[in-house]
């Protein structure tokens, strides 16, 4: 033990001490840089971008001071770089998917198709964005389920951001009986939209006659609404249309079918049976 202590070179001890100083200073400066970058980017970028920029600044500074510290110890960085080169090939093969997710995440951050708090629809999944992380995006669905979607999937799929614009359109499919007056139905629908305060006055509600169905006149009535009131209007306007149709005696039809016996139609044979004939005690 004493021999070992005697063999310790004072210069080597100083270099280790110097390296430690570099590491500590690096840590402190990295934290300060991270805080400074966050402060600077507060009103310029969204939360996720602020975090990313702060991390990049912090890691860069830390890396510089780690290299300086290793250099002070006398570590041969060339060996490390060579080993890193070999390792990177192995790691690259093993982590293709993760690397793809990371790169996809960077593209998502740069492109900004959605932000934290937005409602998005990816395939069959609709939910609120909880976080946009390095490898994946986390959603909370409306029935309170947690969904993790890899960034690679998002880059490759169609993503619908439901909360991108301040207003949305509700398309109502309306079917009325064939006997109804289309102009009268249109007037009723426009009155309902005018009376509902959630319906935007502009853009104006749109009426489109879609065509003659098997048993009905099919039409589309589209109204615009603030995105926050989407569900509320969707429910209320259906109720109001039903009430208005009932008040104006406008029939919402059920499917009708006409039966024919053939090209040269013979009447269907019908036998009328009275109540008196059908009772057993009367059959004598």
């Amino acid at each position: 033990m004493t021999e070992w202590i005697n063999n310790i070179d004072a210069a080597w001890f100083m270099s280790v001490f110097e390296a430690l100083i570099y590491f500590i200073v690096g840590l402190i400066l990295a934290k300060m840089a991270s805080r400074a970058v966050r402060q600077w980017s507060k009103n310029r970028f969204d939360t996720h971008q602020q975090l990313l920029m702060a991390r990049v600044a912090s890691y860069l500074i830390l890396l510089v001071f780690v290299v300086m510290g290793l250099n002070a110890i006398g570590f041969n960085l060339g060996v490390l770089i060579g080993a890193a080169g070999v390792m990177s090939v192995a790691i690259g093969f093993a982590s293709q998917t993760s690397a793809s997710n990371i790169i996809s995440g960077l593209f998502l951050v740069a492109e900004r198709p959605f932000s934290v708090g937005d409602l998005i629809k990816v395939g069959e999944t609709t939910g609120e964005v909880l976080s946009i992380d390095l490898l994946s995006v986390k959603l909370r669905t409306f029935d309170n389920l947690f969904v993790r979607i890899p960034n690679e999937t998002l880059i490759k799929s169609e993503v619908t951001t439901l909360t991108r614009f301040p207003i949305r359109r509700i398309d109502l499919s309306i079917a009325v009986a064939l006997k109804e007056d289309i102009k009268a139905v249109r007037k009723v629908l426009e009155k309902v939209a005018e009376a509902n305060p959630l319906c935007l006055d502009e853009p104006k509600p749109k009426f489109v006659f879609l065509g003659f169905g098997d048993s009905s006149l099919n039409m589309q009535f589209s109204v615009w609404v603030k995105r926050e009131s989407f569900i509320e209007l969707k429910n209320s306007i259906h109720e109001e249309i039903k009430e208005a149709f009932d008040a104006e005696s406008i029939e919402i039809p059920f499917p009708h079918r006409s039966l024919y016996t053939g090209s040269v139609t013979e009447p269907f044979p019908i036998r009328l049976v009275s109540d008196a004939d059908s009772k057993p005690e009367n059959k004598d």
Partner: protein
């Protein structure tokens, strides 16, 4: 009731077990003071427009609970209530009955009635308890497309070329809108967006409400300027008016430039 010149707005004594009923335009607002709480209930009634607002000490007028009710609780019940008229918190879209076409290098002045908002607060605190329109307003969107624009109110406002017909409605604020077409093309006005949050509200001795005059200048197809003039609508002198409510949003002393589609439709 203690008020200034028998006004329907201002600061009023509101001791415990007092009930006031306010009617202004379409809104009927009841205020009831109970131990440690205020109850405020209101709804819009479309029977007749109350163009002479009133505040009276009455029993409840609602046959059933009103559609909107609020209760505010206090550790120490405030003694006075502040009722202040204001203008809308969003731009108001005014639509002429028939669209107006303005020839190149021509100018027109329109007079428009804007609906009033009511702000209710306790005099002991600056916090506004209620901020409601006196008419039932409809949301609207004003902008060049469905992506860019601003949420506004669409109100059934009447516009005139003369101030006199609209000056008798004390439940609305009169605004003079001067429109100048400095381009060489016809300017067709289907609707105008009045920047109500940027306007201050004044009252004259007769109890009629006024705002500053605004000037909309169209320079070319895509460029228009809105400016708030230092002149009050109707040419009334400032000395004859009292400031009721300052602008909700300060536009600053400079003019603002907006795309033509943000001012005219």
């Amino acid at each position: 009731m203690v008020g200034r010149q028998n006004r329907w707005w201002g600061d009023f004594d509101f001791p415990q077990q007092t009930q006031w009923v306010m009617r202004c335009a379409d809104v009927c607002l009841e205020m009831h003071s109970a131990p440690h709480q205020w109850w405020l209930g209101y709804e819009w009634q479309h029977t007749t427009e109350q163009i002479e607002p009133s505040l009276k000490n009455e029993t409840s007028t609602f046959e059933s609970p009103p559609k909107h009710e609020h209760r505010f609780v206090f550790a120490e019940l405030p003694e006075r209530v502040a009722i202040k008229p204001a203008l809308a918190d969003r731009p108001v879209v005014c639509r002429p009955d028939v669209s107006v076409s303005l020839l190149p290098f021509q100018e027109v002045t329109l007079f428009v009635c804007l609906p009033l908002w009511l702000k209710i607060a306790s005099t002991s605190s600056e916090q506004t308890l209620l901020d409601i329109p006196t008419v039932k307003v409809c949301d609207s969107w004003f902008g060049p497309n469905t992506r860019e624009g601003v949420l506004s109110y669409a109100s059934q406002v009447s516009e005139q070329l003369d101030v006199k017909p609209i000056a008798n409605n004390k439940a609305r604020a009169a605004i003079e809108v001067r429109i100048q077409n400095q381009s060489d093309q016809m300017l067709t006005l289907d609707k105008i967006s009045v920047p109500a949050p940027n306007l201050s509200l004044y009252v004259d001795k007769q109890g009629q409400f006024w705002t500053q005059r605004i000037t909309l200048v169209r320079r070319n197809l895509d460029d228009a300027i809105l400016s708030l003039d230092d002149v009050i609508s109707g040419g009334l002198p400032l000395s004859a008016l009292e400031l009721v409510c300052a602008a909700r949003e300060d536009i600053g002393r400079s003019k603002i430039t907006k795309a033509i589609s943000a001012l005219f439709g």
